[in-house]
Symmetry: C2
Subunit: 238 residues, 2 copies
Amino acid sequence: MAKHLAKDSVEPQLVPGKLRFYSMRYCPYAQRVQLVLNAKKIPHDPVFINLSDKPEWYLNIFPAGKVPALIYDGKFLSESLHLADFLDEQYPEPPLWKNGPLQKILDKIFIESFGKVTSAFYKLMMTTPELEKSNFNELVESLKPVEDELAQRDSKYFGGSSPQMIDYMIWPWFERFDSIEPVSKGLFIFPLDKFPKLEKWKNAMVAEEAVAAYHLPPDKHAQHFIYRKSGLPAAFNF
Amino acid sequence: MAKHLAKDSVEPQLVPGKLRFYSMRYCPYAQRVQLVLNAKKIPHDPVFINLSDKPEWYLNIFPAGKVPALIYDGKFLSESLHLADFLDEQYPEPPLWKNGPLQKILDKIFIESFGKVTSAFYKLMMTTPELEKSNFNELVESLKPVEDELAQRDSKYFGGSSPQMIDYMIWPWFERFDSIEPVSKGLFIFPLDKFPKLEKWKNAMVAEEAVAAYHLPPDKHAQHFIYRKSGLPAAFNF
């Protein structure tokens, strides 16, 4: 489905008029940038990198070998949150930080605090062969302040009446929560019904054009987690 | 010289018309924000926090208990780079990201890569009782890409003809390099003459109004490092 370039690949030529976007189809950080590209309808040329068997040409450009990254005007740019901000400034329409400087820093602090959720999710999915109850509980617990935040904002999206940067930056993990069920063979199901605000928000988000265009079903994400844990090279190509 | 509030202190009342700025006189991250406040001449009310014996009232507002932080419009805001960006957007004059979105993200990536320098400096000054040659060499080595960057930019400041955010964000560590000599009792002296571009830049920076107003001499920084390593409570008040 998504071909990921590996060690012996050749660097694809840049496509005139399109931003080169180095990505990985199952990477939540790359998805953040993809959502911004989609929301702003920025012409781009995605190149997927096999992170288990990195292309030599990619390591030559970027020794850290990470995604997401963009090439803009010949410059290599990295880090999802920096890329999101850069795209918002370089391509102002529609603005994704429309609520002013104070709300922007508050949202950035919130996005950083969301690191508790991303760590808990990673720990649940990746650090032990079987999914563990204590890790599952930790993940569920980590979502409580997120539900509270949305309740306090009392808006459809975290950003107000339309999705803003904050919504796109946290979305990729919500898409993946549904893969907990197939990965755990039905043992754990993310209890979204315990988070009524987030449940409504998630339903609204998945219907958004920018989100829907890159959405993957739970079994695809599940397959990636299972492959990655097994160490199979197929992890990046299916 | 600078009174730092400790455990049993009382939260000082906000000063009308001034931003409350939670700081620590010897913290390089707090200094970043101080430099932006100075450069933009933003009225502020600094409150120094004793980080070895944190005030209970501060932990109640901010459980992480870190500095720097600001209170703006009743909201508690933290993280030096976020605060710097917030101040630049909320108080646009003079602009400190004046070179456009592309240069801004390149500078942000550079500021992050400067983490190698800050880690090497911390390791040299704080992790062993005596300063070690290998750590000193590592610090010197970490400055080479910084010298190269300034040489490539071929401008007086990293930001061009005037100091920009990038200059202020990395400055605090350069101020502290001179304290290596007194802390090591003359054993190590930072070889700034091996970095001619940085040497000129440093001389220009220290003469800048925003920098000079908060500059401390090497022996003050040295005293703080020595106190901190000894674990003496005096570390924050002298």
